[in-house]
Amino acid sequence: MDRAFRRKLTNGVFVGACGLATIIALAALVLILWSLVKEGVGGIDGKIFTMTQPAPGSPGGLKNAITGSLMMCAAGMAIAVVVGILAGTWLAEYGGQTPYGHAVRFLNDVLLSAPSILIGLFVYEIMVAHLFGHFSGYAGALALALLAVPIVTRTTEDMLALQPNTLREAGMALGAGRGFVIRSIIWKAASAGLLTGGLLGFARISGETAPLLFTSLGNQFFSLDMAQPMASLPTTIFQFALSAYDDWRRLAWVGALLIAVAVLAVNTIGRLLARETHRP
């Protein structure tokens, strides 16, 4: 009796502890989102999107930062999607099982989880210190691309591997070459999955700050010239949040809210799409 009671008690405590851990994790999410909404929503108005960043004390918005972020992310994604889909295709369809393929996959994983600030250092060494001689939007875009490529590659490989072999065989039986089958059958069948890879990559890089600090640097003026230093939402938030001015801090909260909402939305859409693909 005593022993049975002790076992039941242990079990009860254990289940309770597991439940508590879950509640703590959910509470953290709610607390963070709540602070974002509380501090950020009040500051959202037309000026955020139509005015560039202000001097402390005067009205302004985040137009230059938002534009810069969009441009660098778009350019970064353009590179990442091309390289990532091709590399993922090679891993899934051609050489994935060779020793070389295993090596590529391993290094892709390393790149996937390499600290983003190191990618920034690398791009700084190449583009800023040697190629251009100064900070530029292109350098920022390349750093972001390097962060997104491994995600796109990984997702592409996973999604192509999900496609049934009968599809490939059917295509080849009609006389189509391997590359043709991949391009016009497999890619089409996996298109939602490929889009997922792109979206997940986009979600990852749009909130990245560290690799932009010393590649695109930031720019307090509105600029569309990617050969020059370029503003971005995360670096502007960083600068404003650590400043001593209340109105800059308010803008930082608004920026943080915008970025969090955008990233979470893109992430969720990506995951929903992935689920569609998984369904046979």
């Binding site: 501090e39 391997r178 943080a256």
Partner: protein, 320 residues
């Protein structure tokens, strides 16, 4: 009509030759993209090694063992940030691991299926929040709360010379090693929980049901059957979390206090490798300063690479 037949025939040939060429081109393109990935990683390592070489060359082993980090006298010893990185990561791991275990066990074992999915998605959302948002939240919400509700009471109630007073001594502003670890823990929790959940789902239901059939309680099934079953994979999950924590930059930069040198207590300000680079690189005063920061980057890369390689080896062993 015969000419038309000949025409179509003669057209078909170049088309076929073209398609064979196209095949080769496409294959080569795919191969080059994969190779480009490898080149990128190699480039990261090589550029860090070359950029950091002057610092390694000048300070030798002292770069890692000395705590003198002084851009004015051009002396660079990185023991402070290196220790800061390791301490915050391990603390974060200690906080996050029980939570991640709890969450994943709860979702797999105890939670009704209908609410398990929304909860899993919510926890995954936590992973999607950009690190700069964590940083702001830590600086403006967590740190002030921590200072008034944890640090001040401890300062008031304990003599600064007593053991507890020394462990928890520090400026009561909430920006210290411990709060940085707390933020890191929240950040790595979703990753660890997700991987651990996948691991637990690989336990065959027969094994679980057999244990239940013998009259085990849920606790006994989890502790004595499921956890031993996933075994090495657990270590893989831990290393994965550690790898994430080591390289995290922005959130830590906001809240760790950014002072060089050894942290002397749990509530002392400190710095990590990543936060030092983020803070100083754009304003590096001299070539040697830049080189020292890049050398720090290489140290960080080696740390994370070792941890990740171990994690992968252990997780791969589990899946087979």
């Amino acid at each position: 009509m015969s000419t038309a037949a000949i025409d179509s025939f003669s057209e078909a040939r170049p088309a076929r030759a073209q398609s064979a060429l196209g095949e080769t081109i496409f294959r080569t393109l795919c191969f080059s993209a994969a190779t480009l990935l490898m080149a990128a990683l190699a480039g990261v390592v090589v550029s860090l090694a070359i950029g950091g070489w002057p610092a390694f060359h000048k300070f030798g082993l002292g770069f890692i063992t000395s705590t003198a980090w002084n851009p004015v006298t051009e002396e660079y010893g990185a023991a402070g940030p290196i220790v800061g990185t390791i301490v915050t990561s391990i603390l974060a791991l200690l906080i996050a691991l029980p939570l991640a275990l709890g969450v994943s066990i709860f979702l797999v074992e105890f939670c009704p299926k209908r609410i398990a999915r929304p909860i899993a998605i919510a926890v995954e959302l936590l992973a999607g929040i950009p690190s700069i948002v964590y940083g702001m939240w830590g600086l403006f919400v967590l740190a002030p709360w921590f200072a008034t509700h944890v640090q001040l009471p401890i300062l008031m109630d304990f003599d600064s010379n007593s053991l507890i007073g020394r462990i928890f001594s520090g400026v009561p502003n909430g920006a210290n090693i411990f709060t940085a670890s707390l933020i890191l823990a929240i950040m790595i929790l979703p990753y660890m929980a997700a991987v651990f959940r996948e691991l637990l789902l690989t336990v065959p239901s027969q094994v679980r049901e057999a244990a239940y059939g013998l009259g085990s309680t849920s606790f006994e099934v989890v502790a004595k059957v499921m956890l031993p079953y996933v075994g090495k994979g657990t270590v893989g999950v831990i290393m994965l979390g550690l790898g994430r924590a080591l390289g995290e930059t922005m959130a830590v930069t906001f809240i760790i206090g950014n002072s060089h040198g050894f942290p002397h207590s749990l509530f002392d300000s400190g710095s990590t490798i990543a936060s030092t680079i983020a803070n100083e690189f754009a304003e590096a005063t001299s070539d040697m300063h830049t080189a020292a920061l890049i050398a720090l980057g290489l140290v960080l890369f080696v740390l994370t690479f070792a941890v990740l390689a171990t994690a992968r080896a252990l997780l791969a062993g589990q899946k087979n």
